[in-house]
């Protein structure tokens, strides 16, 4: 029996909305999933995570990144890399995949904009919270199958698409420029 067979099983899992599956019967490569916490911009979204277990586990932390695209100050909107202390220097051998996934869920509910992974998102979070929340909810709807649509943002995105831009690139440019179509167009043309 391997160490982490035990970790995520149990009746609490269903209530916390986290799960872990194996990839190719290889228990060093796992796919995790967390559901966005209620009353946040990520509410109801299904976020997939790539989890790699090092040989030295549990003495070193698992390597975790988001596969599902997400708009969050502590997660790269480009690579899905996560800035979370327990995945780095604050790891402890008593932690489990369950505590990691629950910590990530907690991170979605409480961002740390002063310790950002994605500077653009963190700036928006601090300076324009309403736009940040709308953007995060829109990304959750589009990439994580979240239930809440942001019609206002979708209209602006439609305009950009009609100009011939790729949908994802246009979404990134608009999100990064507080949904100002003129500034987004400019950055799309110069990139």
């Amino acid at each position: 029996m391997t160490h982490y067979d035990f970790e995520v099983t149990g009746s609490k899992v269903a209530r916390c909305h986290i799960k872990v599956d194996m990839v190719n019967d290889n228990f060093l490569e796992l796919i995790g999933e967390i559901i966005g916490p209620p009353d946040t911009a990520y509410d109801g979204g299904k976020f997939k995570l790539e989890i790699n277990i090092p040989d030295t586990y549990p003495f070193n932390p698992p390597k975790v990144k988001f596969v599902t695209k997400i708009w969050h100050p502590n997660i790269s909107s480009v690579t899905g890399a996560i800035c979370l202390d327990i995945l780095k220097d604050q790891w402890a051998a008593a932690m489990t995949l369950r505590t990691v996934l629950l910590s990530l869920q907690a991170l979605l509910a409480a961002a740390e904009p002063d310790d950002p992974q994605d500077a653009v998102v963190a700036k928006q979070y601090k300076e324009n919270r309403k736009t940040f929340t709308q953007t995060a909810r829109h990304w959750t709807n589009v990439y994580a199958n979240g239930p809440h649509r942001e019609c206002e943002l979708e209209k602006i995105l439609e305009q950009a698409k009609n100009m011939g831009f790729d949908e994802h690139k246009a979404r990134v440019a608009l999100s990064s420029s507080d949904w100002n179509l003129e500034r987004a167009t400019e950055s799309l043309l110069t990139s």
């Binding site: 030295t56 003495f59 008593a94």
Partner: protein, 147 residues
């Protein structure tokens, strides 16, 4: 005190070698815990910092001293044999295995206990309790001051 950084070359770490022979040490440790089976090596590997793994001959002098000090401090922490009483907890939260009667345990100053092999491996990387994050050296010093 019996510090014993085991290495094949005697030159640079001769000062740190104790009197324990390799055989007796390995006997005392017993079989490796299951999660270590696949990384079992003849040469012991040390961790001067988390995420850094080196064999004894690759360590700098400073790292050797740090590791020797750490080994010394660990040897001061109380150990015990699990006797089936639930006072010490029933499970080692590092390997998640249940304690079996007769297994050697180590008890940290915060009273959290683990399989001796499991916690010693962790303490070489980070000198904190994996359950409560209490720094072990601070607690050790307090113990000295009050006793």
């Amino acid at each position: 005190m019996g510090n014993c950084l085991k290495a094949q070359s005697n030159d640079d770490i001769s000062l740190l070698r104790g009197h324990d022979s390799q055989d007796s040490v390995e006997q005392a440790l017993g079989p490796p815990p299951p999660y270590q089976e696949h990384v079992q090596q003849r040469m012991p590997v040390y961790h001067p910092a988390p995420n850094v793994s080196r064999t004894a001959s690759q360590l700098t002098e400073e790292e050797q001293i740090k590791i020797a000090k750490r080994l010394g401090l660990i040897s001061h922490l109380p150990t015990g044999i699990y006797d089936g009483s639930s006072k010490k907890g029933k499970e080692c939260v590092i390997c998640m295995g249940d304690f079996a009667v007769g297994e050697p345990l180590r008890i940290l100053p915060c009273m959290h206990s683990y399989h001796k092999d499991c916690i010693d491996d962790w303490l070489m990387r980070s000198f904190t309790c994996p359950s409560c994050m209490e720094p072990v050296d601070a607690a050790l010093l307090t113990t000295y001051e009050t006793s």
